[in-house]
Amino acid sequence: MMEALTETYGNPSGAHRLAREANRRVDAARASLAESFGITPGNIVFTSGGTEADSMAIHGSLRRLADRGTPGVAVCSAVEHHAVLEPVEFTGGRVVAVDANGVLDLDHLGVVLAELNEKQVPVAVVSIMAANNETGVIQPVIEASRIVRELAPDALIHSDAVQFSAWRDTSDIAAAVDLMSVSAHKIGGPKGIGFLAVGTGVTLPAIQMGGGQERGRRGGTHNVPGIVAMAAAAQVMVAERSETVERVENLRDRLINDVLAGAAGAFVTGAGADRLPNIAHFCLPGIESEPLLFMLEKNDVMASAASSCSSGAQQVSHVLAAMGITGSDAPGALRLSLGRDSTKDDVDAAARSVVEVVDRIRSRG
């Protein structure tokens, strides 16, 4: 990354030697990323991160149908990241329910697509995240993709794999869908860089135009240091993944057991579902998240209530609401995320802190 900032600092779209060197860096990163994520290098469209990739997928798919003169709608699950949910709702799309564990309701997906069929409303894109960013619940993307291919064969399928990609191999999902979003900062890379994988043969009109970069799919000068760093982070992540996943999962389970044993009434959100190894998401009935997080921070436990995107404007999470967790349970949401560097001492300290702080809040109740 430093080299890209200080030596090969040319603009990869230029023609001179420095530009060509920078372009070679981008090419190498593209090839490396393709290998890390089980995709084809030419399918990678670099973006400023997951949100832009999601936005490009939804708006681009809608444009694709509109350009053909058959405007359609977007469909997504109720627990999507706001980067998907907001463009889908903004453009008048449909939202598919999840069950009490936060897992996509495949029957409801079928119902929604059949309804749209019946009304002769074309479906531009169906977007199902690979794993939820708040609860870590893994979604049946491949099963969903089969339903979409059958009931809405002209639709593109998108999967936001931002949360998933650090912990599980994305090859199968990439093969099953047309569009897949990835963000560097979830895999140990820097913030502000990501990509949308656009399947071979899929034409996705550009949303951000100008300059013609990324084969005309996304205008704008490449973030070369970010791209190089993302590729390096992905290599490390993939090389260490199987070991990391097992270790982090054990730590996460230890954390969950200790919190459940110490904090009366606490339950794990989406406990009945297959979940990512790094997220321990609890609901703590009768506990308000804000004082909880404030007090945890005093103990050097940096946690969040929902996704960190909405901190500063904390609202009841749409993910929990979609799972039917409302009323007195929802405000006490606590998400503890582990990283690949987390240790046993870290999780023990975190569990002790949570139990102690919950006790302190309850004792004043």
């Binding site: 804000e290 004082p291 404030f294 007090m295 005093k298 901190s311 500063g312 404007a313 904390q314 609202q315 302190r360 809040i361 004043r364």
Partner: protein, 349 residues
């Protein structure tokens, strides 16, 4: 020195309040309350106000947090405001916010989080008198906010610091300017923070409750005009009623919600001998007898006699004015003073 949580609205007063607390050697943490999630262009609590508060906190080298008390605010302030109008009352939402949010919810939260005291940028002071604490009028008469803080009792006053209470607004702005705080030249918040200036109360309430048209008559019962919503008309009001051919100053002397008729008359018709009260609050001990009372945020204090009904537990009473006063709208707060000292208050029935 104390651990102090200072409520920072993103305005100049609370910015300077925070700065003065830091100067005084306290361990200071800033917090901005996110209260209203809907549309608004006045008052405080917008995203840019949160940014302003954070920039000031950074400049002062203190931590800054955001507490979302939106659902409490909706329940205790917004919903109540709407229900009060529907019931023919004239509520003061700033007072209810102070009563239920800033000096209740926020104070409890501060206790829970281990703070010794909270602070705000209100223009009013706290001083002790015969062993008890009292709120005093701020030194800047144009900015005095003691009226909207009148509900504070001993336990609240003990845990509250009002660093700019003894300053004029000009002094506050000068300090902010000297320290280069981004909020130095920010205009004062006006109006109700959750109401958009363009649509006003009419639109806000109209989206939430049915508003009732009413006819406007003179004292002889002859119709002289009409209004779209009787809910927005206040007894004693003398502006904002669009009636043609006005001769002299007219006041709303009566509002009949059964026939939806508003009567306009001369000043004498709008005068009342007394105001009936309930929901009393006291800084320390309840009082009765001769009193000076103020019945609007920037009104002048008026002499009268406070009578409380029944025994001490009763929450009803009245002030009989020494000379008749323009009618106090039901729902308005009436605040009792001894000189500059706030003794308590109640709500007009």
């Amino acid at each position: 020195m104390a651990e102090v949580l200072v409520a920072m609205s993103g305005g100049v007063d609370s910015s300077v309040a925070a700065a003065l607390l830091v100067d005084a050697g306290h361990t200071v943490t800033g917090v901005t309350l996110k209260l209203w999630g809907g549309e608004s262009d006045s008052g405080c609590c917008s995203v840019s106000d949160v940014d302003d508060a954070r920039w000031v906190a950074t400049a002062l080298g203190i931590e800054h947090h955001v507490f979302n008390l939106g659902s409490d605010f909706n329940e205790h302030v917004v919903d109540r405001y709407v229900a009060d109008y529907a019931a023919g009352l004239n509520p003061n939402p700033c007072i209810e916010c102070n009563r239920h949010i800033k000096f209740s919810k926020l104070l409890d939260r501060a206790d829970l989080l281990g703070f010794d005291q909270i602070a705000t940028g209100h223009h009013a002071a706290i001083s002790s008198h015969e062993g008890s604490l009292y709120l005093r009028r701020g030194d800047d008469p144009a900015k005095d906010q003691s009226y909207v803080l009148h509900m504070l009792d001993q336990s609240q006053l003990r845990r509250l610091i009002l660093p700019v209470g003894d300053m004029t607004k000009d002094e506050v702005r000068r300090i902010a300017e000297e320290r280069g705080l981004v909020t130095a030249a920010k205009p004062d918040s006006q109006d109700v923070c959750f109401i958009h200036s363009k649509g006003g109360r009419q639109e806000f309430l109209g989206n939430r409750i049915p508003l009732t048209p009413a006819s406007v008559v003179d004292t002889e019962g002859v119709q002289v005009g009409s209004v779209q919503s009787v809910e927005l008309v206040t007894i004693g009001q003398r502006r904002g009623l669009d009636v043609g051919g006005n001769t002299g100053r007219k006041y709303v002397t009566d509002i009949d919600r059964t026939s939806n008729t508003i009567t306009l008359g001369d000043r004498a018709g709008a005068l009342r001998e007394s105001v009936a009260l309930h929901r009393f609050v006291w800084a320390d001990q309840p009082i009765a007898g001769p009193v000076v009372a103020q019945y609007s945020a920037h009104g002048r204090p008026v002499a009268g006699r406070l009578e409380r009904l029944g025994n001490d537990g009763a929450d009803e009473g009245s002030v009989v004015w020494d000379t008749p006063q323009i009618a106090v709208a039901p729902g308005q707060s009436v605040v009792f003073y001894d000189g500059d000292r706030v003794l308590g208050g109640a709500i007009a029935r």
